[in-house]
Symmetry: C2
Amino acid sequence: MRLTPATELEYRCKRLQEEMALSGLDAVIILQNADLFYFTGTIQSGNLYVPKEGQPVYMVRRDAGRARMESGLKEVCPFASMKDIPRILADYGYAEPKRIGMEMDVLPVNLFERYRKVYPQAEYSDATPIIRKVRMIKSHYEIHIMQDAADQVDKVYRRARDVIREGMTDLELAAELEYVARREGHLGLIRMRAFNGEMMFGHTFSGADSAVPAYTDTPLGGMGPSPSFGQGASLKPIGRNEPIIVDFAGSYDGYLVDQTRVFVIGALSDRLRKGYDDMLKIQERMVAMAPERPTWGEIYDECLFMAEKLGYAESFMGNRGAQVSFIGHGIGVEIDEYPFLARGFHDQRLEPGMAFAFEPKVVFPGEGAVGIEDTFYLTESGLKQLTHSDQSLVVI
Amino acid sequence: MRLTPATELEYRCKRLQEEMALSGLDAVIILQNADLFYFTGTIQSGNLYVPKEGQPVYMVRRDAGRARMESGLKEVCPFASMKDIPRILADYGYAEPKRIGMEMDVLPVNLFERYRKVYPQAEYSDATPIIRKVRMIKSHYEIHIMQDAADQVDKVYRRARDVIREGMTDLELAAELEYVARREGHLGLIRMRAFNGEMMFGHTFSGADSAVPAYTDTPLGGMGPSPSFGQGASLKPIGRNEPIIVDFAGSYDGYLVDQTRVFVIGALSDRLRKGYDDMLKIQERMVAMAPERPTWGEIYDECLFMAEKLGYAESFMGNRGAQVSFIGHGIGVEIDEYPFLARGFHDQRLEPGMAFAFEPKVVFPGEGAVGIEDTFYLTESGLKQLTHSDQSLVVI
């Protein structure tokens, strides 16, 4: 278990302040757990006030003692009421902010309205784009944690190889894999920034169930245990000669990696087998392209073009009519970070420090899905792969 | 696996329309997963438009086919853009709404602003209080599901009795129990309405760790696996003669129950043993009071008074300085529903159909916590207990 080093927190705050200067913000007030963890090293409830210059102030409702223990920030103070914020900040010598950024994509309306009353004269705007921009470039420290998460997900993969049996249900398999991950320190939940973005561990499903579209913004969906949570594993028994998908997010010390492998008891049809090999080729193409630092959208366009040439126009990245418009997603504290390797993102390029999951997948309704997913990061000297389980189709 | 009956959905919608009439709302637009599930029977992404009179319209972005399969609503239509909403509603013959309710406590600012542009002349207000009011009265159908969730959590309790060993870590114990629950259909995540309210399965911890306050609005917190998720089980090994808390939410077909039991290898100190027995007495007092239909706050006040008389003024419901101001919480699709058995709630009474978890707990810093939790519901003929594991302290 790591405590985020104070130097890490200082650097992150400095980077945010640089972005704030470019955006003309006097202050950013951070409340959401994923962002709090990134900028404070803990998620004790309260808010982090980041001024345009100087030390951030972490005002903690519950529990301040624990925040002092877990956070490397210099200024941690208890607070009981939002009315106290101006006084606290005045005590630190900070002027009243005129332009304030908050996390408008995740902050509920009612909570925002209460914060707005603290500085009713100020102008409020969305700080999430700059927060995401700072978080998108990973440090060596962060990559080390993600390597631990990659080792965890490899243990999950190895367990899947050992435990998959004909007739066990998708849910039984999921339970076996989650058990391994939890013992290795997986948080259980997967943080997802999108509204209603509930996720835990990942998706384990087999055969035609892997080709069922779901409400989630993912290429594969799955039936899930009930319509109340219609994604991932269901009670379907695993059969012979059908693809078994283990799309699993490793989670360690607050960081995620994402990996998908395909298993089969017996053999896949020629069509699915070729689909799997073709998805590997698309991943190879991305690996070749990435060091040239293309735009996010160029990667998507090139892979889509390649998929179409290979005959997957109506099956790539989801069922016909339910295809998602991305092929990869940034990953770190949340599973939906920058960069978005997605349609239309042509104004931003891959840069050293970016980490992302890449997941070419192809769906044949009524039969099943196949594909591959790994987590990568770009360095000055090239693309590195974090997840490291064998990429071969696993025949059981 | 259940599909919510159409008659259930019709009744729920009718109840909401009655509340809308009292609040003067022309329409309620529902987006959040827990509410969507309650009013549609599924959570396919999109929105549910509930007019003041007539059929609700479920506009589904992804996946409309699946929404038709899983929802018992009559009107399910695909939709691609918010701009289409006025046209869709005009096709159904609904007049332009002037007063619209939305879920302001969970709806992010950016998403709300996009919806607000659909009917820019309308007046928007918070529909969550009336949604919560409707959801607070459970039907027989809902209670049956919660009975299944109670059976699940009893299996978890039995597994704990079998598997607890000296030297195993809290996290290892949690993994064992979660494994049992998942195989029985637990969704894994626990829906919590509060902002940043992340929760999964529940809290398993032992000894002094059970007395560590956390950021969560719960009487007990726990260290958790990392400061990135500082609640619940950590890597602490379980020792002799210390309380082992299994606070676990059963989850089945989208519904929850909550139960806490205490285990010990060897024996508890006299102080903890007495604490446990006293918490049982407080629960007995609540069971005697509830059929008289007191206000929510009266239950809290009476139990707090009793706890203080028993000597727990500074340890009841949390560490001194981190005590929570409730003793129970409504439960159903979310773990933080109405009724709030909490300080100051004197304008609403317990009513038949209400389901709630009741959890008197006492915390001794450095030593550990003890307490009991069960899930109850009130009927016309008295209070019924849903969770049914043996209430004795389990000595291993």
